[in-house]
Symmetry: C2
Subunit: 251 residues, 2 copies
């Protein structure tokens, strides 16, 4: 397959307008802001700096990361089109945000953002929902990093990625805008292990890599099973489901 240029992923998730209702509320706050163009690799804000702005990804993918000494890097989250980041009420940013692909982002002042939310009964629940979703993701990531092996991590990543970058009109074909190092730093592995694991998944016919940045999901059901999440087939978990009557937070 031909290699695509830097802009190849700008198309990934043009879904700002199609975002779910909850997001539309907060999204409207960014309506007046002019989108800025951020080239791939460029930083948007810096860990430790005063959190002056809240951002929304209009197009492209952003990584949120922390650097810890000796060249160790942790990517705590990826943000896709429509996502809002930097909205947490911390005084300083907890992460450095960098463009994975060429991006367009909107920004508004943090005080303005929080002020609008404080003044609107409609926006407050949306904001709370945003905070919740973020902490939920952080917890999920802690589970992944604590207890999952390389294969489970990668499968979880692909399942998480699918709804964000699956090409419309070509179901099963995933765009993977980030490079292997990004994936490795997100999943707490090395790029070699990422490579090996993708090869292994290909060998058992679960996925078919198509070039470096595209991947076809052959058997989504199998992929989900390989996530290592508790599923309905697990007896112990069945017990829990019966007790609590909810499957909402299961993969």
């Amino acid at each position: 397959m031909l290699m695509l240029g830097k802009n190849a992923f700008a198309v990934a998730g043009l879904a700002v307008e199609a975002a779910p209702p909850r997001r539309l509320c907060l999204s409207s706050l960014f309506g007046t802001a002019l989108p800025e163009t951020i080239p791939a690799g460029k930083a948007i804000c810096w860990e430790g700096d005063p959190a002056g702005c809240v951002f929304q990804v209009a197009e492209g993918v952003v990584r949120l990361q922390r650097i810890i000494g000796e060249g160790r890097r942790v990517i705590t989250a990826f943000q896709y089109a429509g996502d809002i980041f930097g909205a947490f009420p911390q005084r300083n940013y907890l992460f450095t945000a960098e463009a994975v692909s060429d991006c367009r982002i909107r920004r508004i002042g943090r005080n303005l953002f929080l002020g609008e939310i404080a003044g609107s009964d409609a926006l407050r629940p949306a904001y709370m929902g945003l905070l919740c979703k973020e902490t939920e993701a952080a917890h999920e990531q802690m589970v992944l990093l604590s207890k999952k092996n390389a294969q489970e991590r990668l499968c979880s990543f692909l399942i998480e990625l699918a709804p964000r970058t699956e090409m419309s009109g070509n179901p099963g074909l995933l765009q993977i805008p980030m490079n292997r190092q990004d994936i490795a730093d997100y999943l707490g592995m090395t790029i070699e292990t990422v490579s090996r694991t993708i090869s292994k998944l290909a060998a058992i016919q679960v996925v078919v890599p198509e070039g470096r940045h595209n991947l076809r999901i052959v058997c989504r059901q199998r992929l989900k099973e390989l996530c290592g999440n508790a599923d309905a087939f697990n007896l112990e978990n069945c017990h829990r489901l019966v007790r609590h009557g909810s499957t909402a937070d299961l993969c």
Copy 2:
């Protein structure tokens, strides 16, 4: 040294009244609630259940955990005297809370709690501060689980534990209320590795175990260095410090 009974750790952190000012505000909401006694090992709330209450630990230690299939457990946080948990605006609890030691806790209704905060200009920043502290801890944990080895994890844990359970009048002597399995599930390791690593730290004279649940820190400076956090001696990080002029978020 003599082994102590179940109640030995009730003393750990009777610091509710001595809590920092920010906490006192939110703590006052629990003033009217009668403390409940929870025996060690007993659950306080369940993952997935509707989040009806917010809790404050009055005495003892609580673990917040998630169970994922096949007997795998992840402890996402420990809560000590004075700490408030379940305050996140999620509809359902993200974790099961269980008493590590015999505990006393206070609870108030979630709607009452959130209502009081919404109605008070003084409490809102305190609440935001609580949310921030929690997400910050979650991020720190993600770094730990992603990039730190067994020794760094354990040292980080001890440094984090020290201000919570260090015995007043006996500086350097830590109470460790949780058992090895709890520590392992918190740090993403096995109990054998926890044991081995403690032995290793003892061998290099950084700590001295005194029974199962007490530990003397011999060289705190060395322990901090072994955390694997970026520190002031790290050149790359020095650069970052110069650029951002803050050391607040470093170990």
